[in-house]
């Protein structure tokens, strides 16, 4: 059995679905015990990623789709957002995304200005994969900053 629950959404590359994705991720995050503030951070970060993907996907193809995959662990959520319609093998894609540096290859993400900056600031880890479209992979840990509440579950 894999150590996480996986939920995937596929939405048209249209701005009205950004809010739908945001609310779904908010609901998923609340299931694994994220605090109110962390959930608000997740809502912003995921909206930024989906907004970017919607814009890229729409530019390439008018009836493009965006795929959002969420892996729910006990202590973290991993969110993958791809601007090309194909479903991904979550684990396989995860091995392909890598850390990135401030190089030209990601200027396409910077063009929107603050979006990627906010993702980086609000999430604990961010990786990007650029091949057949753009995939953003981001992780947030439950209680990333304050660990006190989780003392019970951590002491194993």
């Amino acid at each position: 059995m894999r150590p996480f629950d996986y939920v995937e959404m596929r939405v048209p590359a249209k701005s009205q679905y950004v809010g739908v994705a945001r609310l779904t991720i908010s609901g998923l995050a609340s299931r694994i015990g994220f605090s109110y503030d962390d959930i608000e951070d997740l809502k912003i970060a995921s909206s930024e990623a989906v907004t970017n993907a919607v814009q890229h996907a729409y530019r390439d193809e008018e009836d493009g789709e965006v795929v959002i995959g969420c892996a729910l662990y006990k202590d973290k959520i991993e969110i993958m957002v791809a601007d090309h319609g194909q479903s991904f093998d979550f684990e396989e894609t995860k091995t392909k995304v890598g850390p990135y540096h401030d190089q030209e290859e990601i200027t396409f993400l910077r063009e929107g200005g603050l979006g990627l900056y906010l993702i980086e600031t609000l999430m604990d880890e961010v990786k990007v994969h650029h091949q057949e479209g753009v995939t953003v992979f981001m992780t947030k840990y439950v209680g990333g900053e304050q660990v006190e509440e989780d003392v019970e579950t951590i002491s194993s």
């Binding site: 701005s15 809010g19 503030d37 907004t51 603050l114 979006g115």
Partner: protein
């Protein structure tokens, strides 16, 4: 969004969620005032319950155009969440924003 102008003073109340879908509507409404000279704009964001970079982009654009025409933009009623969004992007230092409650410096 409600906007009202009299004697070069624009007051507005923005409500709801500002994201990729709603930001263009807000932008369009604000753009009708962007070329006015010496406009004093005060926008109340108390009832904004969600905002991301698309909303920041709209307010920055409005701020820039009003400023370049000798006017001023003030955003008031910011929740702690909204205030934080402005602060982590550095916009809190540039724009005139006021948080809800006491000590919201």
């Amino acid at each position: 969004m409600e906007l009202e102008e009299s004697n070069n003073v624009l007051t507005g109340i923005v409500r709801g969620e500002i994201d990729a879908h709603t930001a263009p509507v807000l932008r369009e409404k604000l753009e009708t005032y962007q070329n006015e000279k010496n406009l004093e704009a005060v926008l109340d964001l108390s009832d904004v319950n969600y905002m991301d970079s698309t909303g920041l982009g709209v307010f920055v654009a409005f701020y820039k155009s009003i400023n370049s025409n000798g006017g001023h933009v003030k955003l008031k009623g910011l929740s702690a969440r909204l205030k934080r969004l402005f602060d982590i992007t550095g916009l809190g230092d540039i724009m005139d924003i006021e948080a809800v409650g006491k000590g919201g410096k």
